[in-house]
């Protein structure tokens, strides 16, 4: 019944599994939380919201298994509620007008053609709605997009943040773990029956993804992460993932990339940090090391390092606050 005990705490607290013991972050994220409460207040209009145990109705989406994905989900759910209220209002208004004023006689209706106060009203209200939506968008976006500095020591053990380099290629995925000297790669060989190569990630830690493409544009997308990002040739895209629970999360290429685009599947497997350590050891033992599959040299993109402008603009965000 309480939204904040139901696996959907705010991003700041969910950042780290032990966060319950942490004091609240700096004032910035706290303000963000207050705004979020306000959004929640706005969303209360829908009876759906009051009916369910979970504060945020899913409307068909995943609640998210990363802290970032949960943030996005909440924004989505709030916007969807707003959309249903406004769209529902306008839809019912149209339906009412159509039924109420259907032709009943040959009388000529009153020939009015404007009403300045009403017109001003229905210009001003959307301005307000849009301003509110934009505010929440920016707050969420800064959380979702924030990346920890590359060399930050963020994990509970004080180890450097786990970096995984994902290389998308026609047609498959390669997952390199430079910190662990592990490399996993898989192509579309086993057809639609297979689920593609697997990216194993520890739960409860910050994973920084470096996403690149070897040839054309691909789309990295995991439904349960509520997130996608292009793998662009010549661009190094970085984003952070904080998986909150173990499990298998199917992913797939979302950007048309040629003949076998439909088959470009992969899965993400969230495991506990100790299972992750076991896994890396066994992979190394199996010879799945970085040296085993060198990245094809010919297609290596020239350095074209990119800072996402919104990252650059983002205030020290909630995530960085918990470092």
């Amino acid at each position: 019944m309480n939204a904040f005990t139901n696996g959907s705490p705010t991003s700041l607290l969910a950042r780290d599994p032990s966060s319950d013991a942490h004091p609240a972050g700096p004032s910035d994220p706290a303000r963000g939380r207050r705004w979020k409460r306000l959004a929640v207040g706005l969303a209360i209009g829908a009876p759906l919201v009051l009916g369910g145990c979970n504060f945020y109705p899913t409307y068909g989406a995943s609640r998210g298994v990363t802290t970032q994905g949960q943030d996005t989900f909440k924004l989505y759910s709030g916007m969807m509620t707003t959309g249903i209220i406004i769209g529902g209002f306008v839809g019912i208004l149209i339906l009412y007008t159509v039924l109420r004023y259907r032709r009943r006689s040959d009388d000529m209706p009153k020939q009015f053609h404007e009403s300045i106060p009403i017109e001003i009203l229905y210009t001003a209200i959307p301005v307000f709605v849009v301003a509110v939506l934009f505010l929440f968008t920016v707050l969420t976006e800064n959380n979702v997009d924030a990346t920890v500095p590359n060399n930050a020591r963020i994990t509970t053990t004080g180890a450097p943040v786990l970096e995984v380099k994902i290389t998308a290629f026609q047609w498959g995925w390669r997952f390199d773990y430079p910190n662990n000297n592990v490399s996993v790669s898989g192509e579309v060989t086993d057809g639609p029956g297979g689920l593609g190569p697997q990216m194993v990630l520890p739960v409860g830690e910050t994973v920084q993804i470096l996403l690149v493409s070897n040839d054309v544009i691909h789309g990295f997308y995991v439904r349960d992460f509520n997130f996608s990002r292009y793998a662009l040739p010549g661009v190094q895209n970085r984003f952070d993932l904080n998986i909150i629970k173990p499990g298998l999360f199917p992913g797939q290429c979302t950007q048309i990339c040629g003949l076998y685009h439909s088959e470009m599947l992969f899965t993400v497997k969230g495991v506990t940090p100790s299972d992750f350590a076991t896994w890396t050891t066994s992979e190394i033992a199996a010879g799945h090391t970085l040296q085993r599959y060198p990245v094809p040299a010919a297609n290596t993109p020239p350095p074209y390092t990119h800072v996402t402008p919104s990252n650059a603009l983002a205030a020290p965000s909630a995530k960085k606050g918990s470092l």
Binding site: G87, R102, S105, D106, F112, F134, R223, F227, H261, L313
Partner: protein, 586 residues
């Protein structure tokens, strides 16, 4: 009901002055020219009459619509079952690429600005033809060439283009898409792009310079207003597309590296150029159709448009904003400034909302009758409402991250595009068909067409929203049973087939109107625009005389003088006058 109190004096149309003040330079000799010209096929081939060109445009674009619609049905049939093998991957990729390309480049735009607008705008502003009739003819022939080129690319070796209608580099380069189909696709864009530019020039010049005496800017019917703005947007957007197409062509054949990383180029540049065209294009496709319903709703509500000026300013601000939101299609590239493009995209919701309330305000207090054009317009309102609301969601980058390139987006843009081009487009077709061909379409068949389309439409696209949220990407030829997407896809396929069936009733309707014509008369709907003042179909050079133009619906004023709003009276007295006449009219 409509007693004519006084018959206002009619005015002879003046031979209008062209932009240079001497009359359109390539205009021929007015009326006589019609009787002596060639006949039959040669007449059609050499015609510079906007009505003939408009009809040619309409027929050609409807043919591409049906071809493309058939492809959509094959796509839906393929997706009805997981791991289906009705078509292979390559064919599937060609099918959705050609479906999207034909619909957008060859149907949606040309049907609106080459077809309906070409025919109707000169009539609405009281002009004898488009400002540059020969340019208009050239525009059609370029379009026909481009349309044939794109459609025929299916039969060349290597097949048609298969990279989606957006042709992202580097998938569209010569390594990844070596076939001639891609080059034909690019050339088709060049040809149809220039045809659009020429039509844009014509629309702008016609609305600015060929208006009849008394037709001030704020008396232009909204359809023509929107076509003016569309013309301006065409002039902004299409040259950029052409530039991008030329660059891609050079990359493919002349060894440049504009979009290739290996040579130091930037693939994302293609996306910037493409969407700098592409988003205004979305409004090039939408504004004409907004204009159509804005003209139809008052007629079937027997009321003037509510908030005429608000409508014009909404259109202008949508057009202005549409040139600054292109990167909302690129949120997931990670290389664009998210808040800026998000904010501008959100802002578009405001003028769009104004339009909705103006449409409702027009119906409010009216006497609504639901002939086919009005039904289709109301269908548009609902379709576009949901498409618009989900569009606002997509303006939020995080929400876009979670839905981009999934079926959620496919459902969103089909609700918008079918709402506009199909619901509003066919509303316009049913509305103006009597004017263009002098005969009515059957109401019963029209209504069956509408209801089947309406039901099929929701059945097709609501499941797509859900399956998108369940993670189904777009442009995939198959999926797994374990994905759990099968049931929703099957619903969607059934819906698509219902849409397909609905168009059979449309075709039967057309055939019937030719075999057993029911004559339309000049003004079957009691319309208000100048197009309803002349005969159906109009004579060569359109008008023999014109009514006085004192509002945006001069013909209505003429036919209902007791309700005429006389602008010289000033607002207050005008309202009093209204009160008197309302009582008197019954």
């Amino acid at each position: 009901m409509t007693t004519t109190v006084e018959t206002p004096e009619l005015i002879e149309p003046e031979e209008p002055g062209g932009p240079d003040g001497h009359g359109p330079s390539d205009h021929g000799h007015g009326g006589e020219h019609a009787e002596h010209g060639p006949t039959g096929l040669l007449k059609w081939l050499t015609s510079t009459d906007h009505k003939v060109i408009g009809k040619s445009y309409m027929i050609t674009s409807l043919v591409t619509f049906f071809i493309s619609g058939a492809m959509a049905l094959v796509i839906r049939a393929q997706l009805a079952n997981p791991t289906s093998s009705l078509v292979n991957f390559q064919t599937y990729n060609e099918l959705f690429t050609m479906h999207g390309s034909l619909m957008l480049y060859l149907f949606a735009g040309p049907f609106a600005f080459g077809g309906l607008a070409n025919y109707i705008v000169p009539l609405q502003v009281g002009a004898p033809d488009m400002a540059y009739p020969r340019l208009n003819a050239l525009s059609y022939w370029l379009y026909l060439g481009g349309a044939s080129m794109m459609t025929l690319s299916f039969v060349v070796a290597g097949g048609a283009a298969s990279f989606g209608w957006v042709a992202y580099a580097p998938l569209s380069n010569s390594i990844n898409s070596p076939g001639a189909g891609t080059d034909m696709w690019l050339m088709s864009l060049g040809l149809t792009g220039f045809s659009a530019i020429f039509t844009g020039v014509n629309l702008v010049a016609t609305v600015f310079y060929l208006r009849a005496p008394g037709m001030t800017m704020f008396r232009i019917p909204i359809f023509s207003w929107n076509m003016l703005v569309t013309g301006i947007l065409i002039l902004i957007a299409f040259p950029v597309l052409f530039g991008a197409v030329v660059m891609l062509f050079c990359d493919r054949h002349f060894g440049t590296h504009i979009f290739s990383v290996q040579g130091g180029g930037v693939p994302v540049l293609w996306q910037h150029l493409f969407w700098f065209f592409g988003h205004p294009e979305v409004y090039i496709l939408a504004l004409p159709y907004f204009g159509i319903v804005t003209d139809i709703i008052p007629v079937f509500s027997r009321k003037p448009l509510f908030g005429y000026r608000g409508m014009v300013f909404a259109t202008l601000s949508i057009a202005a904003l549409s040139t600054g939101v292109w990167a909302h299609h690129m949120f997931t590239t990670g290389v664009v400034l998210l808040p800026f493009f998000s904010l501008l995209s959100y802002l578009i919701a405001i003028p769009t909302g104004i339009k909705f309330f103006n449409w409702v305000g027009t119906m409010w207090g009216g006497q609504l009758s639901f002939q086919t054009p009005m039904l289709f317009s109301i269908g548009f309102l609902f379709a576009f409402l949901m498409g618009g609301v989900t569009g606002v969601l997509l303006a939020s980058p995080p929400v876009d991250f979670m839905t981009h390139d999934t079926y959620f987006v496919v459902a969103h843009f089909h609700q918008v595009l079918i709402g506009t081009t199909v619901f509003a487009g066919f509303a316009g077709f049913y509305f103006w068909y009597p004017k263009m061909f002098g005969r009515m379409l059957n109401e019963r068949l029209g209504k069956i067409h509408f209801w089947l389309l309406f039901i099929g439409f929701w059945l097709t696209f609501i499941p797509q929203y859900i399956v998108g949220l369940k993670g189904m990407p777009r442009r995939v030829a198959d999926y797994l049973t374990s994905n759990g997407w099968t049931g929703l896809n099957q619903l969607s396929t059934v819906g698509a087939m219902v849409i397909g069936v609905s168009f059979l009733f449309f075709l039967v309707n057309l055939v019937q109107s030719w075999r057993k014509p029911v004559l339309a008369g000049d003004n079957p709907w009691d319309g208000g625009g100048l197009e309803w003042f002349t005969s159906s179909p109009p004579p060569h050079h359109n008008f023999t005389h014109l009514p006085p133009i004192r509002s945006e619906r001069p013909v209505w004023d003429y036919n209902h003088p007791e309700h005429r709003k006389d602008e010289s009276h000033g607002d207050k007295r005008h309202r009093e006058h209204e009160k008197e006449t309302v009582g008197a009219s019954s």
